[in-house]
Amino acid sequence: MRMRSVLSLLVLLCGVQSKVLMANGSDLAVPAQRIIALSPHSVELLFLLGVGDRIVATTEYADYPEQAKAIPRIGSHSSIQIERVLELDPDLIVVWESGNPAQDVQRMIDLGLNVHMSRTKVLLDIAGELETLGALVGKKEQGEALAKEFRQRFLGLSETYQNKAPVSFFYQLWQQPLRTIAAGSWINTVFKHCGGANIFDDASTDYPQVSIETVLIKAPQVIVVPSHHGADIGTDMWQAWPEIPAVKNEHILFFEGDLLHRFSYRVLDGMEQVCTAFDRIRNS
């Protein structure tokens, strides 16, 4: 008796599985209508493509544009509520390779859900992501147009500023412990193309922890402080060290962290701010 019920359960499960897989096979023909976007940047890109209203669930910190704040949350960087995912019956799930837990992503793939993996690693990947997402949601032309615009704006800024006299900078990613970005970090690209020279370019990890004394010795012209989810992180400690040119000349620059830390289209706005601010300091 028990054996039989176990068997029927198995059959039932297989049936469910194959049904999902079949539904999967035809997903590209029909544009996605019920989207779960599991990163703040994919939410931004989907809104840009004009399909923000199709997002049925998202993750913590997806706060742009304003309407995004109303979307239900079903996960964070540490976990995704798979049961809620199934309940919402999405036809497209946009996951972020480096921002969602790999186990949860794998489980969603195993469950036969239609998962698109966003693998953005460098700045220009954002253009590619716009094209891919555009195709998936039936907005191929908009996606391609936006991607083209993104590349043009990026290259335009880069051509104007990259080869100007380098401005040395320290990027204060976090304060306790003091953490920065190095050459391998994609955030660094923004600054490189604005003609900035990272004082920790040679570090062997992408987000190294550093000591105040190294910053003192390397004497940057600018200290860049991104906000963190809208809140400023402290910079009081620098005031004690006028030996640093950035402190002496009051070149501690504050930027909105969400503009610089997200693979969204708005990163170009952040880049524009950085380029013009650096140029002002360069010419001062």
């Binding site: 960087h77 306790q176 412990p177 953490r179 570090a203 190294p208 000591s211 010795i217 992180i233 009081d236």
Partner: protein
């Protein structure tokens, strides 16, 4: 008659010599430790800044790095090592349990939880305000854990109840800290984790005053009570026969240890194993009866921590390693070695 007087004075001369040796070791260690770091600063540079006799000129930036970044850090490391070792030594004495240390009694985890909660709630870091908040949080947390342990123990201050209550409280606050870490965003969580594992990066001269005062005060009290403490070591009955009020002494020492620990956790996060290991080493080096065993414990603990901090700063190019990880790594290997040696000796007997 003459010869016995001579023997006493030579023993005390030997004691003074040994004490001076330990103090010299501590001073030399700190000066050496100050010459290690990210910026290229030599031992001579450090010497010329610290020594009143040196006339050599040194770059002002280097001088400031030495005086305002490295020196307070070395002193904080020394204080932390000294204070935690003292707390461990006293707890081991009053409980007659070689495994007692501030961790076992939940003092450290209570303090860590309080501090972590403040850091997580503050979100952003404006150094001064948050520093005071963290200290207060650590104190409240440790006071809460001590209160819980004490309320479980009752009047008798029985050792077993004390230890069991301590373990339970320790797990409770440990779980609460993990929850706060889990719920924080990744960058904040990594900085909280770094902090709970112990670090001396926040060292500054004003921050050192409170820990220094409390450690010196506790050391004086421990020395004043060392006779009673030695009596307790020989058994509760024994101590009572000598007129020691055991319950009160035990409770008082527990409170002092938690004050010591909370002050240090508030300044440098959670650092384990030091309170456990250093008293063991000192007991091996010196006879248990030694009057000023607490002084040696504090000095050796301080020296140990100064070198641990040097390792933390120099082992990896890209990151400072958490202090607690290094002390635990050294401490656990040390204990395994001690056990192994004891075991093999038994085998030979």
């Amino acid at each position: 008659m003459n010869s016995s007087v001579y023997a006493v004075s030579s023993a005390s001369a030997k004691g003074v010599g040994r004490l001076l040796l330990f103090i010299a070791l501590a001073l030399v260690s700190m000066v050496f430790a100050i010459s290690f770091g990210a910026a290229a600063i030599s031992f001579q540079d450090v010497w010329s800044v610290l020594s009143p006799f040196s006339t050599q000129d040194i770059e002002p930036l280097k001088e400031r790095i030495i005086l305002e970044l490295r020196a307070p850090r070395a002193v904080l490391a020394f204080l932390a090592g000294a204070g935690l070792s003292l707390a461990g030594a006293v707890l081991q004495t009053v409980t007659r349990n070689p495994l007692s240390d501030p961790y076992l009694f939940g003092i450290s985890s209570g303090a860590s939880f309080g501090a972590v909660l403040v850091i997580a709630a503050a979100g952003s870091f404006s150094i001064w305000g948050v520093n005071i908040g963290i200290t207060a949080g650590a104190f409240v947390g440790s006071a809460l854990s001590v209160l819980l342990v004490v309320s479980m123990v009752g009047n008798g201050a029985q050792i077993e109840r004390m230890l069991l209550a301590g373990v339970a409280v320790s797990f409770m606050f440990g779980a609460a800290t993990s929850l706060v870490l889990y719920l924080s965003d990744p960058l904040a969580a990594s900085s909280l984790l770094f902090w709970t594992l112990g670090s001396f990066t926040r060292a500054s001269w004003p921050n050192l005053i409170l820990p220094a005062l409390i450690i010196v005060a506790c050391l004086v009290i421990f020395l004043a009570y060392s006779r009673s403490l030695r009596a307790v070591l020989a058994g509760d009955e024994n101590a009572r026969a000598l007129g020691v009020s055991v319950g009160r002494l035990r409770m008082g020492m527990l409170l002092l240890s938690s004050l010591l620990t909370a002050t240090l956790v508030a300044n440098c996060g959670g650092i384990g194993f030091v309170g456990l290991m250093i008293p063991h080493i000192v007991r091996r080096l010196l006879a248990q009866k030694q009057e000023n065993i607490f002084i040696y414990t504090a000095l050796l603990g301080g020296v140990f921590m100064v070198w641990v901090d040097v390792l933390a700063r120099t082992l990896s190019d890209n990151a400072e390693l958490p202090i607690g990880v290094i002390t635990a790594a050294i401490g656990s290997v040390f204990f395994l070695l001690v056990l192994y040696k004891k075991d093999s000796r038994k085998g030979y007997q």
